[in-house]
């Protein structure tokens, strides 16, 4: 199994990268963050991957969810590239990764091919 679709995201493993595309989420809380990490780990089995996280459609997680994603969300990931919409989203994501610091290398991109290029080095 290398593809999973849930109510909140599509997860695809392709060419050594895990593509995690968020769908619109009304409330992003700790329960959802736990579910997201759980689903991702199940599809990965025991393999760690660089992750391209497309958050162009999602709403900002609350503070508990952000803390959980920063630590437990780093499990079995080698690096994360956030794909965001330009302008404000970039700033909000920068805020997220500078205040709730992830445990693996993380960058923010607005261009998908640049994000994939970044992840290929891990």
């Amino acid at each position: 199994m290398n593809f999973l679709k849930t109510d909140y995201a599509e997860i695809l493993i392709k060419d050594g990268i895990l593509f995690f595309t968020y769908l619109p989420i009304p409330t992003f809380d700790i329960q959802l963050a736990e579910q997201i990490v759980s689903d991702r780990l199940h599809i990965q089995r025991e393999q760690a991957y660089p992750v391209l996280c497309d958050i162009r459609k999602f709403s900002l997680p609350d503070i508990k969810a952000r803390k959980y994603l920063a630590i437990e969300g780093s499990l079995l990931t080698t690096a994360v590239a956030y794909l965001v919409a330009p302008a404000l989203s970039v700033q909000l994501t920068q805020f997220f990764i500078r205040v709730n610091k992830p445990l693996v290398p993380t960058q923010v991109f607005t261009d998908k091919s640049e994000a994939i290029h970044y992840l290929k080095q891990f």
Partner: protein, 304 residues
């Protein structure tokens, strides 16, 4: 304006916002002689940092981590309740409508109320420190026994009045069904503090981040950590406990066990490999500390 220069100035504003979010109120944006919006935002942010620095009597307690779901309440100087959060209402087991405006005395054990009153008598003598308060909540409709709570009290001053802002956690909840006590975090009730300077607080926060980044290996001892972060060992140990209500090594252990639980529940990785990958030297030791925290051995959570 030169686009590069403009971008540099915007970056200074972003850095300031990140510093504030991390509880560093001593950071300031260098201001020039420009009279534009960026300059004005920079100025306002500097003012905000200054205000926040004095607003929170103990700046180190701002954004304190690992205190999940604290109760919070605000009292007027006459000790009447002016605001509460849902956690506190739940502890009281009392509706909001009949809580706001009521004297806190109504909800506290008499000895607890007298202690609180005594502490508030001369709060300004302790202006650099938050008051550590202990509340013994009683007289709630469905609890025949009291609930012990600890908390920090920050004194909020406006031009006209002062308010007491208290936040903390329940320590011991006495359930009517059980005579045993359920203990959660039990901080030491120290009235003194080693955290007097922002620089020390920032160093201790850096140690906290270092712990999170080293969950897969053993930590150096506190002496080595103190040298690594250029802080006195005693100040590091006491200050860390004061800021996070947990010791350095206990936090390292707790976080590793949380990660182990996520791995055990969601991956087929063998229990021994999970233990080893999180830096536990022996599986029996891992199994013991895991059971201490989660009540059941690791195998209990596999494939559930």
């Amino acid at each position: 304006m030169d686009p590069l220069k403009r971008e540099q100035r915007l970056e200074q504003l972003r850095t300031m916002i990140h510093e504030l979010a991390n509880g560093n109120f001593s950071h300031r944006i260098p201001l020039g002689n420009q009279s534009d919006d960026i300059e004005s935002f920079g100025l306002m942010l500097n003012l905000l940092a200054e205000e926040l620095g004095s607003f929170f009597v103990h700046p180190g307690s701002f954004g304190e981590r690992d205190i999940e779901d604290p109760y919070s309440l605000i009292l007027y100087t006459d000790l009447n309740i002016t605001a509460v959060n849902s956690v506190f209402l739940k502890l009281l087991n009392h509706p909001k409508e009949t809580t706001i405006g009521q004297p806190i005395k109504q909800f506290l054990h008499s000895s607890s109320f007298h202690n609180l009153k005594k502490q508030f008598k001369n709060p300004y003598k302790r202006k650099k420190k938050p008051l550590v308060v202990k509340l013994l909540i009683t007289l709630t409709p469905h609890y025949s026994l009291p609930i012990d709570c600890w908390g920090y009290c920050h004194i909020l001053q406006t031009s006209e009045t002062s308010l007491y802002f208290i936040r903390g956690l329940p320590i011991v909840i006495h359930s009517p069904q059980s005579v045993h006590t359920t203990s959660t975090a039990h901080p030491s009730f120290r009235s003194d503090t080693v955290l007097q300077y922002q620089a020390d607080i920032q160093k201790i926060r850096a140690v906290h981040q270092y712990i999170l980044e080293h969950l897969h290996e053993s930590l150096p001892n506190t002496l080595a950590l103190s040298r690594l972060f250029h802080i006195n060992e005693n100040k590091l140990k006491k200050g860390f406990k004061e800021l996070y209500q947990i010791t350095i090594f206990k936090l390292h252990l707790e976080k590793r066990l949380d990660q182990a639980m996520v791995m055990i529940k969601n991956t087929p990785t063998s229990l021994k490999v999970v233990a080893h990958s999180l830096g536990f030297k022996s599986f029996p030791h891992f199994s013991k500390v895991f059971k201490d925290k989660f009540e059941y051995p690791p195998s209990h959570f596999r494939n559930r």
